[in-house]
Symmetry: C2
Subunit: 313 residues, 2 copies
């Protein structure tokens, strides 16, 4: 970054210097990381990440890796980390599949009620870990509506919540079943893991995301879902409560202004933008940009030196 760029742009957005980094590490006790553009880009680890995570952990910092990917459970998603040589535990991952189960847990979802799932195996696995009864999901992949005069699709009246996550096997049976539960079962919750328009099934193109699955159910029920993944408040409240932290003791690290940084700011977190993903320094400092992180840096490993110095001291 050139000094000229900084002085011409939004002057109150500051690239972190040595002192800023030391202050940050002193102030915050937990880091929430968006993964793509911070930890990895596609299938490649970003330089210096493993050492930096190790140094932060050596300082006693809690590390939380968030993803709106609901197709895998935390355990299922762990493979992506270990495959890249990162040594983390499933409990450090906060997937939107887990968020759905944690949300149901937080509202004391009755044990005699069931959850109907539009989505993939990740949601099912997380519900099972919480001991929540479920139906739908992968078991409804091949179901078809066979229309005969007078036919009604029967549905289970003990379904007390519908969870909608990304589902590459979305079909009309699932849409109708979810619609019936939400419309006809009194008090039935409608929970969306996230509303992302796009997802990254492959690196080769952008893919229609869970916004499509949720949009389908919104379109027939005229109901708005409770969103539990990014950028919903629930995820932050749940993380803060789980770790017993105040909001400003948590730093959100992300590469996107309008999702990661805004999400962190709305939740009262400290925010740090890294330039290793989609946001350029030019876009950040542009007078058109109104979203300003507390600090920014080129990449996560810029914290390594400060972390090492802190541990040594």
């Amino acid at each position: 970054m050139s000094c000229r760029a900084a002085s011409n742009g939004a002057s109150h957005v500051k690239k972190a210097d040595k002192e800023d980094k030391a202050k940050l590490l002193d102030k915050v006790d937990a880091f929430i990381f968006d993964c793509d553009g911070v930890i990895w880009r596609g299938d490649s680890l970003i330089d210096g990440v493993p050492e930096t995570l190790d140094a932060l952990r050596a300082m006693g910092k809690k590390l939380i890796f968030v993803t709106n990917n609901s197709t895998k459970s935390r355990k299922g998603y762990l493979g992506k980390f270990t495959g890249l040589g990162l040594n983390i535990s499933a409990e450090e991952i906060y997937s939107s599949s887990y968020a759905a189960a944690a949300y149901l847990d937080s509202i004391d979802f009755p044990k005699d009620k069931k959850v109907y799932v539009v989505g993939e195996v990740g949601i099912i696995e997380e519900l099972e870990l919480k001991g929540i009864q479920h139906l739908g999901g992968p078991e409804d992949v091949d179901k078809k509506i066979e229309l005969k005069p007078g036919f009604a699709l029967p549905h289970d009246e003990s379904v007390g919540a519908v969870v909608v996550g990304f589902d590459r096997h979305i079909n009309y049976h699932k849409i109708q079943y979810a619609t019936l539960c939400i419309s006809e079962n009194p008090g039935c919750h409608f929970i969306a893991t996230n509303l992302d328009a796009k997802t990254h099934l492959t690196d080769a193109q952008e893919w229609a995301g869970n916004g499509s699955m949720v949009g389908a159910i919104k379109g027939s029920t005229k109901r708005e879902p409770t969103v539990v993944g990014k950028p919903a408040e629930f995820m932050l409240a749940n993380i803060a409560e789980t770790f017993g932290l105040r909001r400003n003791q948590i730093c959100m690290v992300g590469d996107r202004l309008d999702t990661d940084i805004l999400f962190g700011q709305h939740g009262g977190l400290t925010t740090m933008l890294v330039l290793s993903g989609v946001t350029t320094e030019q876009a950040l400092l542009s007078p058109d940009n109104t979203i300003h992180p507390d600090l920014y840096t080129d990449q996560l490993s810029d914290l390594l030196e400060a972390a090492k110095a802190s541990v040594a001291a």
Copy 2:
């Protein structure tokens, strides 16, 4: 209806008397009929309808039967009428499948461009009648996304419009294909036949309607569609232009206040509510109801006597 009910309720809503009916028949040159609750209830014709339609036709009135059902073409939908013993022509039907083709025609959709269809055979048949190239629809029923690293779903760059209608075979291939066309083909139109939350595939239950299919595409594109069926302005403009009529020369006849009557009023039509469908006189005259048709009557055949008298005179 009791006089007391009328005087206690919205006093400016008037049940049509003999004079009102004669005035109506004198004033309007065309009738737009919502079918369910006006012409038939489920699979049963409502009393006196065939004779009344014959008498109106004998007076030289244009008759237009509108339906948001896009799964059939006008020709395909004709079977429902003839099956009930009604003698009408396909040109008197205004289905939302036809509305989509008529809309594309009205904007001079280029002959070298194609339409991608999320929907059933009705839309395909109406596009063919207008000589508009198409792909998708029934031919994509069994398509699956086979995910391999680096896979991108190819899409046709000559697609200039996506038409979304009710589709009981909705799948992720169709959602992604439609999303790619709308997001990546410059100027690509996004057209919804309608946004109905519910549809009536069988009488035994309410079924998720085209609101689901459109919701899925809205959710991934973050775009709002152009709606061509009820309650969109296009349908009325197109009918008025086709028949060379002023708006108040057209009477909308329906059984629902918040759809049929509101639709007619927004379009500047004369409106008549019939009580042979979902709206009760009590609901119409309730102080809570703010939607007031120009006149109302028990059922369509209440116009028969006035029509016969007019023809005789």
